[in-house]
């Protein structure tokens, strides 16, 4: 090896967006996850966006079978998975074709040139080879024979050609580790654990990983490698976490904080199934997971468990929430604590199962028969799911009500480093039970209009509840007109009073600006980035993000009325805007783009600047 090659140029970058893309069977999610975990361990802030098709293995080589994993990491704060990739790893022509329109100008394309044969090109509907025909002018193309190089490296492992092919993602991963100066050891360790039972695969995958790494080092093709310094994160212990995992851990924490065992009734549905999968592992925390026969049984069993005194939850996505509607009303009527998690996806109907959207807010708000108010909270980032799971549980238990927690496909699957809180930072959840059997009446109420909880099976508090209208105080079936009117008002006011117990809407950035950008849920990172950039350009703009949506925080009206312009981007057709307009009679500048994808912060930046009367050029 000549000295010349060894001394490659090192370029420093503040942040990079990488897209790993290949066939559904190419292991791109694994590759992306490994790169993310290593990058997190390395100390970078990061944010990820897995983008996979709804089909498990669509025909190989086709565009609709492309699975991608986008990762944004940097030396500063990273709040989004990146608007457009700086680097694309394309394992086949289809992966290139699908991701090309979104690449940054002058982006780097690392293509597995072996896959660009006539068959691969035909499947991707390319008439000529884009790597050769000049159509990629403006990009930096690196053709790497990933298939062949992997084949050569693993020829002595005794694996079949077909099996060797399955390791080529590790070659690509190794190459990327070299290119961005990351250690390979964390992945080596992971491979050793993962394939413990198949030593031959440990050997093969580590060989492929190393072959990729050394290839970068020795080939003359790559003259430069990149350095992204680690971020200055707040000191503490960190873990890379997805929204779904954070939701699961959050509920286990809520169970421990309330000293109540956790019950989950759920039916598998994309993109929420992972919460059920995670929680089914927490048996030593006393968690009962019931994989129900359908969505309705998921919520119905949770209501039964709540009647029995557990902290009870059900998890689903939009179509499942639709099925749970009637039972959610039952929880309103019986005034039992329950958290319903909706990991929103593209709708209506089956819609876009693997894509993100925020279009279930009005369903959460109004999707029930009768006057059936249910408090709504929403998580804004993957790690915020942890805290909002706790807050949703707190409201449910304190106010004896079902609560809907909205997350979405993007934050559910996306990951970010999470500074793990100390036990002392988490506030206990107080649970109040009925105390005196002599005076107990199931629909008697405290100063917050909350009825007492007497879990079924407690001696002395035997009572009957159900879906029929209740008599106030004693809870017997009651069909009288005045009672019904009164009960509707009481149920509404009970939920309304929750606003006395939730935090005020917090205004970030410039309080003295005359424009505020508001949002809710998973758009937080993109809005934050956009607002930051607008401010860097010298504009004054404020930002506020709703985590508690219904009831609205007490100061909401006051905050919104302070600004001349209120801009609200949503990945729906204006659902929060409708609610705010109706409640506060204010004008809202809406930005609604519903593509199944998170917002690009650069797009939001443009929208904000336009509305500030600025020039985008």
């Amino acid at each position: 090896m000549s000295e010349e090659i060894k001394q490659k140029k090192v370029e420093n970058l503040t942040d990079v967006t990488v897209m790993f893309a290949g066939d559904s069977g190419d292991g791109m999610q694994l590759t992306g996850t490994q790169f993310s975990n290593t990058t997190a361990l390395f100390g970078n802030d990061l944010n990820t966006l897995p983008d996979y098709p709804a089909e498990i293995r669509a025909p190989a080589g086709t565009i609709y079978g492309v699975s991608g994993f986008q990762l944004h990491f940097g030396s500063g704060n990273v709040n989004t998975p990146g608007d457009s990739p700086d680097v694309l790893v394309a394992m086949n022509p289809a992966a290139l074709k699908k991701n090309l329109p979104n690449l940054k100008p002058n982006a780097m394309i690392i293509a597995n040139s072996d896959a660009f044969d006539s068959k691969g090109l035909k499947l991707a509907k390319y008439e000529s080879n884009p790597l050769k025909d000049g159509s990629l002018a403006g990009f930096k193309i690196f053709e790497v024979q990933i298939t062949r190089l992997t084949q050569n490296a693993l020829s002595d492992t005794g694996l079949s050609v077909k099996d060797i092919q399955r390791s080529k993602n590790f070659f690509a991963l190794g190459l990327m580790y070299w290119l961005f100066d990351r250690p390979i050891e964390p992945t080596v360790e992971w491979v050793k654990t993962k394939f413990k039972k198949e030593p031959i695969l440990i050997d093969a995958n580590i060989k492929a990983l190393k072959a990729g790494y050394y290839y970068g080092d020795t080939t003359e093709m790559f003259a430069t490698k990149f350095k992204v310094e680690s971020s200055k994160l707040t000191s503490g212990r960190y873990k890379n976490i997805s929204g779904n995992e954070a939701t699961a851990v959050g509920f286990v924490a809520a169970s421990l904080l309330s000293d109540l065992p956790l019950f989950l009734g759920s039916y598998p549905i994309t993109p929420a199934s992972e919460i059920l999968q995670y929680l089914s592992k927490y048996k030593n925390y006393g968690v009962i997971t019931f994989q129900a026969e359908d969505e309705i049984a998921g919520i119905a069993s949770a209501i039964g468990a709540s009647f029995g005194g557990h902290l009870s939850i059900t998890t689903t996505s939009g179509p499942g929430l639709a099925l749970k509607t009637e039972a959610a009303g039952l929880a309103v009527m019986t005034e039992l604590p329950l958290v319903i998690v909706n990991v929103q996806r593209g709708g209506p109907s089956t819609g876009l199962p693997t894509k993100t959207e925020q279009a279930d807010l009005l369903q959460a708000m109004y999707g029930r028969n009768g006057e059936a108010p249910i408090p709504i909270v929403a998580a804004s980032t993957p790690s915020d799911c942890f805290y909002m799971a706790i807050e949703a549980s707190r409201i449910a238990l304190k106010h004896m009500t079902p609560v809907i927690l909205l997350t979405d496909g993007y934050i559910a699957n996306g990951t970010e480093p999470w500074r793990i809180p100390e036990v002392s930072e988490l506030k206990k959840i107080e649970v109040k039970y009925a105390e005196n059997p002599e005076t107990f009446q199931p629909y008697n109420r405290d100063e917050n209009l909350v009825r007492p909880w007497a879990p079924a099976g407690t001696p002395g508090f035997e009572h009957r509840i159900g879906g029929l209208e209740k008599s106030n105080i004693n809870g017997n079936v009651n069909y009288e007109p005045e009672n019904h009117h009164e009960m509707i008002k009481i149920r509404a006011e009970k939920v309304n009073r929750i606003k006395n117990f939730i935090p005020d809407l917090e205004v970030l950035a410039d309080e003295d600006a005359d424009t505020i950008v508001i949002g809710w849920g998973g758009t937080y990172g993109a809005i934050l980035d956009a607002v930051d950039r607008v401010r860097e350009k010298g504009h004054k703009v404020a930002q506020a993000h709703f985590r508690f949506i219904y009831p609205f925080p007490k100061n909401t009206g006051e905050v919104l009325k302070k600004y001349k312009k209120v801009i609200l981007p949503e990945i729906n057709d204006g659902q929060l805007a409708k609610l705010l307009k109706a409640e506060f009679l204010i004008d809202i500048i809406q930005h609604n783009v519903i593509r199944g994808l998170p917002f690009r912060s650069s797009d939001l930046e443009k929208v904000i600047i336009e509305n500030l009367g600025g020039n985008n050029d």
Partner: protein, 346 residues
Amino acid sequence: MTDQTKIETTELKLTAKDFSSGLDVRWCPGCGDYSVLAQTQRVFANLGYKKHEPLIVSGIGCSSRFPYYMSSYGFHGIHGRAAAIATGLKLVKPDHPVWVATGDGDLMSIGGNHFIHACRKNVDLKIMLFNNRIYGLTKGQYSPTSETGKITKTSPYGVVDYPFNPTALALGANATFVARTIDRDAKHLQYILEEAAKHKGTAFMEILQNCVIFNDGAFDDVSKKDVKDDNILMLEHGKPMIFGKDADKGIMLNGFIPIVVNLSVNPQLENMLLIHDEFEESGILASILTQMSEKTGLPTPFGIFRRVNQPTYVDGVTRQINEVTEKKGKGTLQKLLNEGNIWEVK
């Protein structure tokens, strides 16, 4: 009140009346539901249950008002979902008997899915199906157990579909306890309720129940004094299958088809009669019994078709939680926050 008297009063065995909530019962006069209510209260008292022990869940329909009339914990759910609600309740209250009161519309139609899964999983619910073969509360539409040809409000020219056979459905879903009884026969009803209570696992009871308003007389053949003995086969474990007013008819198999033989004409056939075996594991004998009815020219079996022991779902869930807790140690907040790939930033 001293502690001593407290213990004595709580240890007093409750009576049937103690299990009544005291609310006015609002079923139609003469409704078969009254009998089921009375027998359940009696059986709970006989079994020595305390008020807080049995937990009763129902769906929607006439029979689903049941929990309101009991003094124990009760949950009146939504249409069809009783078994699902009860499953969640049983999972968190494994030591309490959980009973489901439901009707043929509630359990067989809108709640069909929950029913078969409650059987399949052996959740350990006691399911009382009040089968009156009609929608009563909505005032007289045909139900999934209504006979083909039946004239009802929604079938003015007769029902054109085919009814479910509830015991066969339960057995097909692998219920570990399957029985049939009738509202009119208080003693038999009481016996079935009691045996179901003692069974460990999901117990399914089809209770033929007369709706005096919309389907009166639906079960006359098996309840009227003068004819019932010729139309009912009372199952008794270990006994040959004999029925009839004069106990002169028997059931034997011809191939795998049950037939009726006349013992006064052919007394020598008595030792070839089918012997009932509730504990027959495979469910084949019970399957044959579920298909016997007037439709096949055979008597309708009453009694316990099948009762077999199988670990319950609730036991399985509890066992796993205990095993994992023993292996990994009980989870704490400290532990929870320290699991996984963690790194430290100074």
